[in-house]
Symmetry: none
Subunit: 414 residues, 2 copies
């Protein structure tokens, strides 16, 4: 089923505010298999709002009009929506009495315009607003539903969750049900990953697989349709297995919120092991990423940022002759940084980063050349060279280096 979201607000049109209501609403609709196929943002302008509602009425079954329900003169949403629907406005007398009383109690001057906040679409029902003044409207007419909601995110969200979604479930809950699972990958270009996944999953029907590139990972979402919980799980498991048969080396976890840092911290915690870092080009970003996970103190006590060559020698104890002979951006330097920092902190793992963040080359090596070193107690040190594309820029090179470093740890953790 198709829904349309009309967001009203000059501050949205001018880009002064990012619209967080529309994605929240779209997400919630998606769980009911309702797609917000059209999302429109318009100014606080009566004729624009009216035109947008008319257009939506012709192409969508479920229409949301969000924002512009305040008492000021530029809040014209409700009037314009009523005009487009060829209806009028009704006043909820009980709510109007409550507004008057609230203002009296808080000793705020009541304006004549405040009565607007007690109005709703005639022929529909008012929607209560537990966290603000303005009512919403639910207008079910001719096989279509129009919902009007206030713009402030806290009010929008509360009313969506408490009043609107239950009504939507009651009305449309019989429709198609989607069950989803998100798998996370690193280290494969999106086009190649998706080609291989498409080939690996083509025997399945009633399944769609989509991808989404994030700065630190590629998220692959599997959707299955109209199945009982148990059947959906079975099918998702089968599709996951088919995907992992080919993409296991690049996979690191399941779930929308899953990150490599979270996975690594969780695993280290479970194994009661610890990690430290020795960072050159990443300048503390790896350690900061670990510390962004609540409870990181269980697995991380501290580490080193050694940007200059002499700091690698002085703080970590890297041999000057290794740096002189092989260079800062080299496997032997990465290995010493990893092992000597691990020893100093008496940690189970030591992860080192040395390379060229750019924009300039270093020691004749182009931006994007990175050596990772991973020391593990009782194991030989591993190193790995990355050749990241210089054009992605300094921050992306630093960020991806951290993610590939985390992936090395993830793989070592088995």
């Amino acid at each position: 089923m198709d829904a349309e979201i009309i967001s009203v607000g000059t501050e949205l049109a001018l880009g002064q505010v990012t619209n967080t209501n529309a994605p929240l609403l779209a997400q919630q609709l998606a769980t009911l298999d309702i797609t917000a196929s059209y999302q429109v943002t318009v100014l606080d302008d009566g004729r624009q709002i009216e035109a947008a509602v008319e257009t939506a009425w012709h192409r969508a079954d479920l229409i949301f009009v969000c924002g512009g329900l305040g008492p000021t003169t530029d809040d014209v949403t409700l009037k314009s929506t009523a005009r487009a629907l060829q209806t009028t406005l009704a006043t909820d007398q009980a709510h109007w009495a409550w507004i008057q009383q609230t203002f009296r109690q808080r000793q705020i001057d009541l304006l004549a315009e405040n009565i607007q906040q007690a109005r709703y679409l005639t022929g529909g029902q008012p929607l209560a607003n537990p966290v603000g003044l303005a009512l919403g409207s639910w207008y079910d007419h001719g096989g279509k539903v129009v919902v009007v909601l206030p713009g402030p995110p806290a009010e929008f969200k509360t009313m969506l969750m408490r009043s609107v979604l239950p009504r939507l479930v009651a009305k449309y809950g019989q429709g198609r049900r989607i069950t989803s699972r998100t798998l996370n990958f690193l280290g494969r270009p999106e086009s190649q990953l998706m080609d291989e996944i498409e080939a690996a999953t083509k025997q399945f029907t009633n399944v769609t697989v989509t991808s989404y590139v994030q700065p630190s990972q590629i998220q692959v979402r599997i959707n299955v349709y109209d199945l009982s919980k148990a059947m959906a799980k079975q099918l998702l498991d089968a599709v996951t297995a088919a995907i992992l048969t080919v993409e296991r080396p690049f996979y690191f976890g399941t779930g929308d919120q899953c990150t490599l840092a979270q996975v690594v911290v969780d695993q280290l915690k479970r194994r009661q092991q610890t990690i430290t870092g020795a960072e050159s080009l990443t300048g503390g970003l790896f350690q900061s990423t670990i510390c962004s996970i609540p409870g990181a103190s269980n697995v991380f006590a501290g580490g080193f940022v050694t940007y200059a060559a002499w700091a690698k020698e002085k703080l970590i104890g890297v041999d000057k002759q290794v740096v002189d002979q092989y260079g800062v951006v080299s496997s032997p330097t990465a290995a010493q940084m990893a092992e000597k920092s691990r020893q100093q902190l008496n940690a189970d793992f030591g992860l080192a980063f040395t390379g060229v963040a750019g924009p300039e080359a270093l020691e004749g090596q182009p931006a994007g050349t990175v050596w990772l070193g991973l020391a593990q107690k009782g194991q030989p040190v591993q190193t790995k060279e990355l050749h990241l594309a210089p054009y992605i820029g300094r921050q992306a090179i630093r960020n991806l280096s951290v993610q590939y470093g985390l992936q090395m740890v993830y793989q070592a953790l088995g």
Copy 2:
């Protein structure tokens, strides 16, 4: 003038991703007095995109189509836009050769679909993408302009700033001319800052002042209208002076791209001074922020991440009895971390962070309690306590701690 922004992406329609491109674009258009009166989000669906472009062609003068330029089969933006405009696609052979070469160098398999990323609208011009693979398109036809841009925010922003805005200024710059200046502040709540600025600037006419809250600062933009370059500068200078008369303690720099880290690195470089860091709750985020500035190696050699108390003692040499007596989250601990790390690196400045990132309290102190320490060669150590609001969350507490630390250095630099 009216512009329309069409954002393409099923992930947007499903609310999996918040659209940050459209507000950025709308903001930039607003500076040229172009209003993004219509903003539409559609699925990765050829017919929908085509219909949206056709509708936009009838009601707007300037149309942006953003997202869906990847090589996968669900990326249909360019084809559908061409259909709506009754044109075809051309291939930029030089760019196609570059893509092939890049894939060869990086030893990634090239797919036939990748040629899509070298295509643009016939009759228009390709727009270079300095940070990604897919070209954009600039299509100027029949008094209207259609601009096609890729969706990944880093690519979108770079191309908007470098290629699109200069073209828009050249084409539409003759309208109302806005000259802007952005001032950056930290440490004052937005509502208070703007109330005070409004009072301080109310004698000026032909001026608007708007604010924009960013995670690390508040940006205040002064716009003046329809003045010659010299007159505009004079008025901007006068407004700036009036604002700084009241807000000087919170000001740190001018310009849209200005950050405290950039200002601090620039000033240290100019004075040929160096800095180091000793980080507990921030876990390397301060040093990583310094290293995010190209040329940071002139002012930063390395430093410490000391999350656990014993790491503060072992790596930096903080006295155990100071930690035992005053606690980890205390002025004396912050002072020792700053001074002893400064001495170890023989740096001009040492900046220390110790505090409670949350969610749990620490040593009986709530999340958001942070001690900053700043050591400066030949000066007494300064410390400063922050009480950040716990509800802003762990990452915002860590990020703001870094910014307030940078502000301490900025103020010490005079």
